[in-house]
């Protein structure tokens, strides 16, 4: 007996629209290219950092403005622990350097024409399967170890979210200014 396979069409259309926009944004930012992602990890190309920091600054201003305006909003917090975050993050970092993409940019790379991106997707499906099979072990031993008591930075530093946002914006602008002074190292003519 198969459960209901598809969510409501409206939800699917919203997801598709958001995805198409994201795919265009990734491709135009060159995040669909191996040399850009690995270039970031080799500290030669800072596109990844610039995109992520800008997204966080702009995103947080909007989200916390919505919260201040009392608009209906859900926070999406995956939980987890300090230990699971560090172990998971380490595996992710090694994987990202090896494949040359993260999951989202790998999809963009596939759309853009990188053949190995499809093998990356296959590898990711196996990784998801392996985790699903071993999740019980991690739930018992890792996901509860060194729990983070303060979910947000504002709680951690016992201040208002806007203090965090303002500091983050200033730090980001300083980083961007410093990066602007570095000459972009020549990128390969093709991917």
């Amino acid at each position: 007996m198969l459960p209901n396979l598809f969510a409501h069409p409206l939800i699917l259309i919203q997801g598709l629209a958001a995805g198409i926009i994201l795919g265009i944004l990734f491709q135009k930012a060159r995040l669909s290219q191996f040399n850009v992602i690995v270039g970031q990890l080799l500290l030669k190309d800072f596109t990844v950092l610039k995109v992520i920091l800008t997204a966080i600054v702009v995103g947080s201003i909007g989200i916390y403005a919505f919260i201040a305006l009392d608009l209906p909003l859900q926070m999406h917090d995956k939980g987890g622990s300090i230990l699971s975050t560090i172990i998971g993050g380490s595996m992710f970092g090694i994987g990202m350097a090896t494949l040359g993409f993260c999951p989202g940019t790998c999809l963009a790379a596939a759309g853009h024409g990188t053949r190995s991106a499809w093998w990356g997707i296959v590898g990711m499906l196996f990784g998801a399967w392996a985790y699903a099979e071993t999740h019980e072990f991690f739930a018992k031993n890792v996901l509860t170890a060194w729990k983070m008591e303060t979910a947000t930075l504002q709680q951690l530093f016992n201040t208002s979210p806007w203090t965090i946002i303002i500091i983050m914006t200033i730090v980001s602008l300083v980083i961007f200014k410093l990066l602007g002074r570095k000459k972009a190292t020549g990128e390969q003519p093709e991917e």
């Binding site: 198409i20 944004l25 040399n35 690995v38 990890l41 999809l107 190995s116």
Partner: protein, 174 residues
Amino acid sequence: MKNPLKAESWSPYIVGTAIGILSWITFLIMFKALSITTAFVRISGFIIGIFSYDHISFTPYFAKYIEYKPVFEWQIALFVGIIAGSWISSRFSSISIAPIPYLWVQNFGSSNRNRIIGALIGGFLLLFGARLGGGCTLGHGVSGGLQLLTLSFLFIGTVFATGIITAHILYRKK
């Protein structure tokens, strides 16, 4: 006015801003955070379910995503959309993609087999690490970051640290 889609690339600051604004929309109107790794769990579970539905029912982590909720939902649509959007965008671009990335060839040669193995291992570690760590660069980096979640910043910091070390070990020849 020149078609912006035809531009070689857009400023990372503009793209970052656009992703931030897209997040406003997904949070406020769709009640969703941009993230992508659950889609991989769903797809792999669905494929396995074709061979053995019992196995899905009896593996709680899969059952959670496959049995009690529709398999093909928002994030799967996002998954398809990203591939499609990138493809559409690349139609306007003149950037050609090498069969095997240049940096990889420099360090591991041009055999397809090596690259495939690297991609499989890398992909495996990415998703296993993401599910254990609670997200990926979209889920933690963007969505977690803009919510100012402590663990998200820890995740991204760890990813950068280990990724930077690994990349310097793997890609010695530039």
